[in-house]
Amino acid sequence: MNRYRIKAFGITKDFLGGKEAEVEIKGDTVAALRSELMERYPGLQGLRSLYIAVNNDYAEEGRVLGAGDEIALIPPVSGG
């Protein structure tokens, strides 16, 4: 099992119950993390989109997560 600390922004804070959460998952990819998060926090399924950022960049689904990576949930942005 791999343990990751997740930063939450915008509406995702409401689903994760705060600005950060820790999750344990079997896999080690962005896709695996996404599935686990969607299951554990079903509210995320209702979003128009959800990107996952790794080390301050939008990450692709196949990206392998490292232990020291900064991981963040990016719901639909609405700046400006």
């Binding site: 301050n56 990016i74 942005v77 609405s78 700046g79 400006g80």
Partner: protein
């Protein structure tokens, strides 16, 4: 200059930063908080940013714009925190030798900022609140 700040934005300062003695044209976009959204009165807005990533994404947009247009100066300032109607949320300023480029580059930057930069706003109404554009049901926000 890329700035994400809780303090009121000094528009003149943003323009000064983007200006350049060799440029004849500066285009500036100022995004302000509207007092209504879909017919409801907005009491205030909460802006939140993933600051380190937001700065990086804005930098990428500026880099792209620099390849498309001859930018001689530019500045982007985005406010976060609590904003009331009429307050300035974002200012983008670019200077170019010829004016058409200044319009096109400034529009490109604000369009892409709104699409890609991790900043979020929550509108607070008299009877509730809503993270803008978050859900499919939400009416897309098109300022």
């Amino acid at each position: 200059m890329i700035k994400i700040t809780e303090k009121p934005i000094d528009i003149q300062k943003v323009i000064d930063t983007a200006s350049c003695l060799a440029s004849g044209a500066v285009n500036v976009f100022v995004g302000t908080v509207r007092n209504n959204a879909n017919g409801k009165n907005v009491v205030w807005l909460e802006y939140e940013a993933y600051e380190t990533m937001a700065v990086g994404e804005i930098r990428k947009i500026i880099d792209d714009a620099s390849h498309k247009w001859p930018l001689q100066g530019w500045a982007v300032s985005h406010r976060i925190g609590t904003l009331r109607p009429g307050e300035v949320a974002v200012v983008v300023a670019v200077s170019t030798p010829h004016r058409k480029d200044s319009f096109d580059a400034c529009e490109y930057i604000i369009d892409n900022l709104k699409l890609h930069v991790p900043i979020w706003k929550k509108e607070v109404f008299e009877d509730g609140e809503e993270w803008i554009s978050a859900r499919p049901s939400a009416v897309a926000e098109k300022v």
